[in-house]
Subunit: 237 residues, 2 copies
Amino acid sequence: MNILLLPELDNEQTSFSITDLSQIKHVQQVLELKAGDGLKVGSLNGELGTAVIEAVSDTQLKLGSLNLNTMPPSKLDLTVVLALPRPKVLRRLIMDMTAIGVAEIILVNSYRTDKSYWQSPILSRIDEFVTEGLQQGVDTIAPNIQLKKRFKPFVEDELSLWAKDRSLVVAHPYSPLSFNAYIEQAGLPQVLCIGAEGGWIDYEVGLLQDNGCQPVNIGSRILRTEAAVNALCGRYL
Amino acid sequence: MNILLLPELDNEQTSFSITDLSQIKHVQQVLELKAGDGLKVGSLNGELGTAVIEAVSDTQLKLGSLNLNTMPPSKLDLTVVLALPRPKVLRRLIMDMTAIGVAEIILVNSYRTDKSYWQSPILSRIDEFVTEGLQQGVDTIAPNIQLKKRFKPFVEDELSLWAKDRSLVVAHPYSPLSFNAYIEQAGLPQVLCIGAEGGWIDYEVGLLQDNGCQPVNIGSRILRTEAAVNALCGRYL
């Protein structure tokens, strides 16, 4: 946690009390801060700044001298369309994509997405992972996150329309065109479609391609979903 | 696991028995393969190829029709000097750097490396994480990994000599030069020095800089160590 994220506040507010137990625990046990210490904060959808701890107990953290004065960093011009991965890796993926500044995240069904993943209680905790990512990445603006449980209608009815004014690629190890060669010709694409463990099946790559996505490879090495997402998004930094 | 890594074999060998329980379990439970099924294999320090499962039990996996015929992918022209991180994240870091093809990994002490990390039993398991990384990344050549428990002598006596014929950068959020601007001018650096949680302290950045490392930033966002390593290494794909 590199900032403590507060709810939406107006810039004139100078004090605030936190009751989120995980935030209080982090401040006490990981950052080892106590009354009188300063820390970096941000207001959700607002500015970044500083505050001073006035008092801290196991259930409440009182902040004073709140000074919100810095705009959060810009988002990347990037939408990631990600095949819904195993619940276990979803937390870190949402956190990392949020921290690195992805503007929009679409979690989509795929052939290799087990049906049970859509029933996972982890999906109701996405906002929590976004907060973790904003606190890691020193940002206050949540990415726009959407869930699309039906792949074909999403690609044919929604993604196909984006192709009119945005550049789209799908990561696919068997594409003859490399991501580097694509970027040299066309610049960084605005939409990246990334499969989860096992990647996209040929039908899915074909449908994405028919609707405006250029398949690109990142070499013959196969990366964990998390590693691949960070390696691809790293190009935008 | 995208290949099953076998020990060093010569290319004429056509059968092999595996007794590594974690590999057997993975083949049975995750890949769900049985006698008669084919799978991708590689021979440590040798070639990639295919084999057929002749028999499988909980303690032995007999492979036949072994055909090693493909060279592993080239390594990246990249040494990563990484501040030794928490044991918990070391496994994934070694695995990811191996999978993405880093040629050399130097784990070095830093001010923010807790002394206890050097006593962790996880350090004796690095070979295991390398095997996982090779099996993930479809490679057979282990990276060269070294541990350097003393930062200053390592930087002054070893790293300083590299600067004669290699390009070195240190990732540091407060550097005015961006990684992108560095790459545009000088190409991809051959050595990346990356801090662990909390980053390098000023003294460390100063010492690295005095010994030939150019500090570069990747923006104001702060990434988890794993995310930063993958985001930086992704530039080399």
